[in-house]
Structure formats: C-alpha cells, structure tokens
C-alpha cells in the first residue's frame, strides 16, 4: 500500500493524514455511493475530484454566459438588481 504512494520529502506527512484528506474529498463528490463509508481507491477519488472540478468550471462558464446575456438585455438593470436583493 505504501509503495503506491511516493514518499514525500519530509516524512512528517503521515499516510493517515493523507487518507483522512482523501476521505474528506470523497465525501464532497456527488456520487450515489457517497453515503456509504465504502472506501474507494485514492486514485479514483482524485480522478473524480479532477473531473468534478472541471465540470464545475464548465457550469460556471455557462452561467456567466447566461448572466452576461441577461445583463445585456435587461434595460432596467438597477431595478432588477434591487429586486433580486430584496427577494433573497
């Protein structure tokens, strides 16, 4: 198990720490199996993390496109924004 992970420069970073961080990451991922404490392999968790971050970036890209269009078309932007604030 330890041979899979490369040794860090300072051996102060224990494997338990890494496992803890990876499991925390796993809990954030939107997986159906998320609720189960079923441990996935760390590499898979990392792969899914990268994919998830990329998909979140894409979502924000699409949302900014949509928002820029909406802001362009809205004539009474000030009133709209004030309304949006009140509705929160």
């Amino acid at each position: 198990m330890s041979s899979r992970r490369s040794r860090s420069g300072s051996s102060r970073i224990t494997e338990d720490q890494i496992n803890d961080l990876v499991s925390r990451l796993q809990q954030l991922l939107p997986e159906m199996h998320n609720r189960r404490s079923d441990k996935k392999s760390a590499t898979k968790v990392l792969q899914e993390t990268c994919n998830y971050i990329r998909s979140l970036h894409r979502e924000v890209d699409e949302l900014s496109e949509r928002l820029s269009e909406l802001l362009e078309n809205a004539d009474t932007t000030q009133a709209d924004l004030i309304r949006s604030l009140l509705m929160h």
């Binding site: 720490q17 990451l25 990268c50 924000v60 949302l63 900014s64 802001l71 924004l81």
Partner: protein, 211 residues
C-alpha cells in the same frame, strides 16, 4: 532649479515614476495577501460554504461586481462576468485559503505586470534566436518529459493534475493541494448555486417587465 531638472528629463522621470508605481502595486498586492493571511491567526475556522448566509454574502458581492462590469463596458463579455464572479468568490473566502489569495493577487499581477511580462518574453525569444541557445527550450522539454513519464505513481500524477486545476496550488505539497481542493470544491458549488439563483431571478424579472 529643481523644476528645471525635472523638465529637462521628463522621459527619465516618467519611466522612474512608472516603475515606482509598479513596485508600489507589487508591494501592495503582497501586503493585501499578508493582511488576509494574518487574519488566520484570529479566526482559523474555515468558511461554511453550504450556509445560506455565505451564499447571501456572496450574492451581494457578485451583484456589486456585476453592476461595475456592466457600467464599465457597453456589453459585458462572459469572460468578464466569470472573472468578476471568481473575484467575488475569493473575497468571500476572506483570504483564508491559498486559492482565494491566488485569484486576488493574480488579477493585480495581470493588470500591472502584463507589460513587464511581455517584454521579458520578447527578450527571451530574441536571445534564444540570436545566440542559437535553446537552453530554455531544453529545460521546458525536460519538464514535460518528467510530467508525462509513466514511472511516476498514478497517485502523484493525479495530485499534480489537481494542483493545476486549483488556483495557486501548482507548487504546493500534496496535503496542501488536497486541503485546498476540498475548500475550493465547496466554494465552487456555492458559486454555481448563487449564480443560477441570480440568473433565474434576472430571467424571471426580465420576462415579467416585458409584459
């Protein structure tokens, strides 16, 4: 006497003052980062991105930023909206994370050091062409080879990929990258929630005002 000196070398003085301004901005951006990180000592608690309060804080910052974007340009490009949204997100993080500090300092760096970087790049190209010295090119090739080498364990490779995705984490050790990634994902999810809610409100109010 001093006034005649100033008028005699206007170009020199303007050059010097512009570098002084640039250096000031450099120091300022570092100072901002340091101030933000010093707050860690008072409140080390991470931001709870799932809370409604945080989303409201972010939404109001986002609205302010978007209003500025709209007033600045005639037509706000999606890229500007995205950058404003990222900056608002980084500000909401209160500088407690590396990725937020990196987003904020990157903006300043881009604004004030863009010219500097272009000059540096041009100089590099000119020297490599004139001296036939491809040392810099060789270095980059070696770097690429190292990254693509399959002798690296898969885990390390993935961590490196992850470190490129999270802003400000390219040279950070593994536990730092993992830690930053957990916070970054939670923040991004909140950003998506807030921006979709805002888009909904704007589209609804837009359609209702047209009636």
């Amino acid at each position: 006497m001093s006034s005649s000196l100033l008028s005699a070398n206007p170009a020199l003085n303007s050059g010097r003052s512009s570098t002084r301004r640039r250096n000031k901005k450099k120091i300022q951006s570092h100072a901002i980062a340091e101030n933000l990180s010093s707050n860690d000592q008072h409140q080390n608690s991470p931001i709870e991105w799932k809370s409604e309060t945080q989303q409201q804080i972010y939404s109001s910052k986002l609205l302010q930023a978007l209003r500025q974007v709209r007033n600045g340009d005639g037509s706000p490009a999606p890229k500007r909206v995205h950058e404003a949204a990222d900056r608002a997100l980084a500000t909401t993080a209160k500088g407690r994370t590396r990725w937020s500090r990196a987003i904020l300092t990157n903006r300043l760096k881009l604004k004030f050091m863009k010219k500097n970087n272009i000059v540096k790049r041009q100089r590099k190209v000119m020297t490599s062409i004139s001296t036939g010295n491809s040392r810099s090119q060789r270095k980059s090739k070696v770097k690429i080879l190292r990254l693509k080498s399959k002798s690296l364990p898969a885990f390390q490779r993935k961590v490196r990929v992850l470190s490129r995705l999270v802003p400000g984490c390219r040279k950070q050790p593994m536990p730092v990258v993992l830690e930053e990634a957990t916070d970054y994902i939670a923040a991004l999810e909140m950003q998506v929630r807030a921006m979709s809610a805002l888009a909904e409100l704007l589209s609804v109010s837009g359609s209702s005002s047209s009636h």
